[in-house]
Amino acid sequence: MKVLDINWNGFLGSLALWRTLPFDERRAFLCSSQASAGSPLEQHQPFARVMRALYANPVHEVSSRKAFDEYIDAHFTVNERSAFGTPQAARSDIHGALFRKLTSHSDWLRPFVLDATMGWEGPYIAFGQRGYLTTPSVLKATQQIVALTARDGPLAIAKLPEQFQGVAPAVLAGAIHASLRYMLLFASIRGEDLEPVIGPWPIRAPQAERAREFSPVEARDVYHEPFLLEDMTAALAACITEPFRLRSDFTLYAKAGKQIGPAMSVHPEWVTATFAIGREDRITTAVNFLQAAKLADTRKAGAGERYLMASERGMAWLPRQPKERLKDFVRFFRAPEPGQHATDSFSYHFLPYRVDWPSYMGQSPDIPKAVAAAFLDVPAGVFVTVKNLLDRNSIERNPLAPLMTRRGFYSIRIGRHLLSRPDEEEIESVWHRLLSEFLTQRLLPLGGVAVGIGSGNEICFSVTPVGRYLLTGEGDFEYGASEAAEVVVQPNFDVVFLSQATSAEAEISRFGERKGRKLGVLFHINKKSILSAANTGLTADNVMEVLTRVCSREVPANVEREIRGWFGACRRVKTRNALLLECPDKETALRVLAAARGRVRALSETVLELENTGERAALTKKLRDSGIFF
């Protein structure tokens, strides 16, 4: 049912019945495909269809471009759309033009309210149709409704007769029709009370009304942890202990998650929910970044099975001090190595996704610099809301702003966003999304921001020294040592956390067996956990350094003694492939030795070893010539 096909006069009559229904009944009615048997609305099929059509697209609540497209697709014919005089171009571009034009208060609504006279609609009447603003009273009523809703926002349709008491119902219905036909107003069902409403396309706060300065806020439940680094550390340590077998599509089996999981820290619930960073996602991200940073690579083993194994670079990276590991990692982000593959999600680049700037568009603006500037602008040590950041970084700080003045058709892909002759709002939306995603995909996982909840439950953040290092590549930061951790190693090898200390937790997880989360006995150090740590390249000195640094009390002597003893008992052996030649008797062995001329050596009287297995073919030939066959 299209909004233009509705008999609004009849609709207003049926609304009285609708308003007698309780909320749950309204919702059940709208959610079912048909009026349920016994419902008083059963007799009002057209009304039901209208309501469901409006309910399907809550344009006043989700006023996206997509919602606009769906709305006009649902309610307008091609002729009706074309009547707005858009150029002959791709369909999406017609919509884009319509969107820009018809959702603009200054260009569309205000001139209509102030200046429209009979005949205003002429240019917009679709081929084969007649006008909607049939009488001066309909025009006047339309102007009044548009003016009222433009000022106060969407209005319940049921309230219209009350608001315009002197207006005849037929005129009112005509005014609704006209306002909808010319997209002066849009109709939808309001979510909070399921009331049909009519109103102009919602507009964003005018630029002038947006906050230009930062307003510091008080943050609670502050969270700050370079969890990506810690997850990568946990994943790398786990894959050194036991390489992760990969599926044919290179994804991990569930077992890998079980190996990594115990060493991963737990985020506060609000962080997980707000930033949508679940445990599985974290594991996948960590493993992908390990590969992107070449700290781990995929190798074939056994019967063609693929495994993710630590690379030599990873083996060298893991035992380094946490701060150095973090610095390394941040450096990689700032200066990716040539040839690195840049995918949307896991590119090892400064920005969380790539910008495809066509060469015919001239030189690309320095988007990374603009992003960095936006965050460096936040005063040090101060929490501001994300909204505050976005409002401050509006159009004049937007590196994509020059696109607004560009003529002709063009198309730019920024991450997942394809921009084709975008309007101001679209350009701003992409820019804001870029800032938001930089915050959530770069700064937050690397500990570059501390996030918290403001007094009005809004999300706020503060840029940390790690964040400034990432943004500028300069300066220094404290990591690990600065945390006021209340961590105690007990003589019974329990590691007790009396206060939360996430970086200490991450460091100890590399050599302690996890026993708990957040507070209490979080780790137990035992021979097995130390041997695993030794296998990852840690040394007794590394472990003692961490314990001495993060613990608030002296490490008990018996604990240190055992840790050093366990490390001391570790040995590393090398393996190599060799070919054993088992000879039937001593004489044959001597003949082989003679024929091989130094290529083989005797392990016993009858067993010989070919050290360089690559020479097997040559040896086979040589022996065959001597009458000795494999």
């Binding site: 209340e486 105690v488 007990q490 003589p491 019974n492 090898f493 329990d494 007790v496 009396l498 206060s499 507070l519 209490g520 006995v521 021979k527 009390r553 008990p556 002597a557 018996n558 003694r561 055992e562 003893g565 008992a569």
Partner: protein, 561 residues
Amino acid sequence: MSAYQPENPLIVQGDHTILVEVASPLYEEARDGLVRFAELVKAPEHIHTYRVTPLSVWNACAAGVPQSEICETLERFSKYTVPPHVLIEIRDFASRYGRVKLLRHPSGALVLSANDRPLAEEIARNKHVAPFLSQRLSPLEFLINASARGEIKQALVKIGFPAEDLAGYTTGEALTLALRETSLSGRSFTLRHYQSDAVGAFHAGGSTRGGSGVVTLPCGAGKTIVGMACMEQVQASTLILTTSVTAVRQWAAELLDKTTLTADLIGEYTGISKDVRPVTIATYQIMTWRSRQGDDFPHLSLFNERNWGLIIYDEVHLLPAPVFRITAGLQARRRLGLTATLVREDGREEDVFALIGPKKADVPWKVLEGQGWIAEAACTEVRLPMPLDLRMPYAVADDRQKFRIASENPDKIEVVRKLLERHKGEPALVIGMYIDQLQRLAGPLGLPVLMGTTPQRKRDELYEAFKAGRIPVLAVSKVANFAVDLPDASVAIQISGTFGSRQEEAQRLGRILRPKSGANQAHFYSVVSADTVEQDFALKRQLFLCEQGYGYSIIDSGDIE
């Protein structure tokens, strides 16, 4: 309280465990509050762990601690907000205690009384409890057979409504005894304040609120004395159950030494002798002896051979299952449990609560150590390398042989010699698992050896000589594990032995914890072959001792001066 209070010592966790920071200025105050309603799980140097369980809360309720005080203590001393569900559950546990009471009916039977109708109905319909209810006297009361007193208490504990037993006790056969002010051996003797407190809590002035329960005191704190003082309060014939013949003899010796009882009033009921007197001391072993599996336990009849006014269960955490069963039928007699820990290896703490009674006293050993009532113990592990000629046999041996080869490292003799030299003049025990090893060591060092096959008479002579100081060092086999009461030993050197159980290790340590003159310092050494399986076993001991709160250090044999 919502903010983080770093100076407070407690962290209350959602799983009902409580961490206590010893370094906190409020530690002692918090511990004294906590010990009333939580059980100590482990006490390593810096952070101690307690656990709140239904039983620990019921013990607190039985001792008159209101739930509001429990919650208040947690909230007052907690660093962080106490998890709300923990407080709710504590309130729930506490609200269950005392809702059911056992009272005496004029007919001599018992009355089970519930405090409200729904609970009465629940009990009446519960399949574990209902079989013991013989008649409904009123909507809230049931008549039950007196013989089912123990079993119904067990069943009620299992369903979470522990009964307050106010049905009273039989007086038992009268027996006059008093504690001496000067022991027969001529030493001045009075009860220590914590012993008096424990006795008072147990006896409760002879009312039905007392008369059954468990006194928890650390090794060396004088549990036997508490038992004797309770006997003095009850003034009735007493059956004492303990762990071994040696312990039986020591109870007898202590009773003769410190009470007015004479030898003719004290009987020994063991594998050697079956003498039932007004005070009879028996072993758990003889009580649970039977000729064949499936037969009855003939010696359990001892429980009914006299009209006992008091039964003392020494080391109640070791109480065997058949004794539990017979104890269920002895609920009309006063019962005292003595132990160093309520933690049972078999997890039957609920039965101890239901059948022996609630905890009546619990004094942390650190308190007693601080007051000088028990010695300070320093635990040291001495590691020595395997001799070169044993390395290869060790390397190729199977696990069992490896342990023995490492344990019998002949170089341990020299280490023991050095240790004894270091503690010259202090009474010392050398404890070993292998008789051969002990004998090899005893020869060069000139030590007498006491082992399982040593006749009792010879043992008594050795003990006597050791107590008198004529023998400064005694080499003992596993017999030292239980109730070898050697009051003057201040050094123990363990040269071999697996880590058996928590109790076993505690008992060994207990041998040296009695207060010493002078520095009041005891030393417990374990001599271990380095980098062998013996070291792995020693690690278990290390963890146990650290969790008990003892200082533990590791030195190399070369470091002994």
